[in-house]
């Protein structure tokens, strides 16, 4: 077609609009940060008006919320869940323990840097982050999607060996399916 790139552009704009106004978060409360998710979803803060709603299974979800610390045992499940999600997919690290270990900085069972293991788009600081902070994190994610820089799956694919090496360093018994999409 003659104006292929232009029509592609229009499609891209609509796509980006749809993607940023329909963020389905996976129902996986990995840590204690999950306590503020109900508050965020209910009457006072009502995240659904921004298009944020829960999704029950990884296949349907767009956003993986890492609500706080990740233990080694959970990390294995989180990686698996992340790889099952369909792109475009986004990761929000939630709370200071996802950023740098927080108060568990010397614990033998929690990871200290989430972005060593899966690509993170937005970090929300605080312990707990308030619902306002969560909403602002979603706003930030929407901005990133609009700017086209929320490209977690691409980064994951490009630096796949690096991520895998980091993951395998911690997870000793490795029995994963291959990541092939």
């Amino acid at each position: 077609m003659q104006n292929d790139s232009r029509s592609q552009k229009i499609v891209d704009i609509i796509q980006a609009y749809a993607r940023r106004h329909s963020l389905w978060i996976l129902a996986y409360g990995t840590g204690c940060g999950a306590i503020e998710i109900p508050s965020t979803m209910t009457s006072r803060y009502d995240a659904e008006r921004l298009g944020v709603r829960g999704a029950a299974t990884p296949r349907q979800a767009d956003v993986l919320l890492i609500t706080g610390y990740l233990t080694v045992k959970t990390l294995k499940r989180v990686i698996r869940v992340y790889e099952q999600m369909q792109s475009p997919k986004y990761v929000i690290g939630f709370g200071s323990c996802a950023i740098n270990g927080g108060m568990y900085w010397d614990s033998y069972n929690t990871i200290k840097m989430l972005d060593q293991y899966i690509p993170v788009d937005v970090y929300i600081s605080g312990c707990m982050p308030r619902p306002e902070a969560v909403l602002s994190g979603f706003g930030k994610l929407q901005d990133l999607i609009k700017a086209g820089v929320a490209d977690g799956p691409k980064r994951y694919e490009e630096n796949f060996d690096w991520y895998r090496a980091n993951q395998k360093k911690i997870i000793k018994n490795w029995n994963f399916a291959d990541y092939n999409w």
């Binding site: 659904e48 298009g51 999600m85 369909q86």
Partner: protein, 303 residues
């Protein structure tokens, strides 16, 4: 030329059903949000969701039947749609009706669920499999009052065609809602199960089965399922309006009637928890079936 008219009319009908179904779904979300003290998403939120789902990659597949499941659902919805008279006098909506199309429709409406059952079975996810068995069990439940209601109508008005039933209402001047009230009650109670809102959302019950048959379906599969559900909702509502509320002369009338009918399962669902499977089936075989029997008796008596 007639065939072209049919094709264009079919496309227009489908688009209308899609848009109305999606908007009703969005309105439902808004109404539920307001009941829950929330502001709620915009009414067009379902379109955004649908487009987003459509634009997602669907890299995973579990074999041919997994592809076919949502497609079956869509085919069933569209074919049912084609046999429903949208407006009383047709207009540019085609109507493939024939004598006995009501019976055909009964089969067609079940067909989608069966196709989905096959598709969900292939995903290998136990939640899907359990969800499908629950869905079939529930279908056994609500099909009985539903068929009874339709049989009562057939007996009462001596016709097995939807347009025939609409003509009856036009000639007599009263809606079937008043002419055969028991059939209407039985059918409405059965419709609570057909819409699968609470208390009969046992198929995709989130707290129990993740999302049931749709567990493994994301992206385009979920888009197909979502749009076919929307179309199917429109089919059911229009069928109810045709059978009991005298059909619609124009689109506005149609929208008002279907929206009012839609509110019955929606509002009943907001304030109720979910039944267990066997409780749901027992419920359908209770009062709805009793109303169905009364409807048949009334029909036999009144003819």
């Amino acid at each position: 030329m007639e065939i072209l008219q049919y094709i264009f009319g079919g496309i227009i009908t489908f688009l209308l059903a899609f848009v109305v179904g999606m908007t009703f779904g969005g309105t439902r979300r808004k109404i539920i949000a307001r009941i829950q003290n929330r502001y709620g998403p915009p009414i067009y939120q379902n379109f955004i969701d649908a487009f987003k789902l459509f634009s997602k990659t669907s890299a995973v597949h579990h074999g041919a039947m997994h592809y076919m499941g949502p497609a079956f659902l869509m085919v069933s919805s569209v074919v049912s749609l084609m046999f429903i008279p949208i407006l009383r006098d047709g207009g540019w909506f085609p109507n493939l009706n024939f004598h006995g199309d009501l019976i055909f429709l009964l089969y067609m409406m079940v067909f989608g669920s069966l196709g989905m059952a096959l598709g969900a079975g292939q995903t290998g996810n136990p939640n899907s499999a359990i969800g499908v068995t629950r869905g079939l069990a529930q279908m056994v439940g609500y099909e009985i009052p539903w068929i009874m209601a339709l049989v009562a109508m057939m007996i009462q008005f001596h016709t097995t065609s939807i347009t025939g039933l609409m003509d009856v209402q036009l000639q007599s001047g009263t809606w079937n809602l008043f002419a055969s009230p028991f059939a209407f009650v039985a059918a409405i109670l059965a419709s609570l199960g057909m819409f699968r809102y609470a208390p009969f959302n046992i198929v995709g019950a989130p707290a129990e089965l993740a999302s049931g048959p749709a567990s493994e379906n994301g992206g385009k599969y979920l888009f197909t399922m979502m749009s076919s559900h929307s179309v199917f909702a429109f089919v059911k509502l229009t069928l109810f309006a045709d059978l009991f509320l005298g059909g619609a002369g124009n689109l506005v009338e149609l929208l008002i009637k279907t929206f009012l009918l839609y509110m019955i399962p929606v509002l009943y669902g907001v304030v109720n928890p979910r039944y267990r499977t066997e409780q749901a089936v027992r419920w359908f075989w209770g009062w709805p079936t009793v109303f169905g029997i009364i409807a048949i008796a009334y029909a036999v008596w009144s003819t």
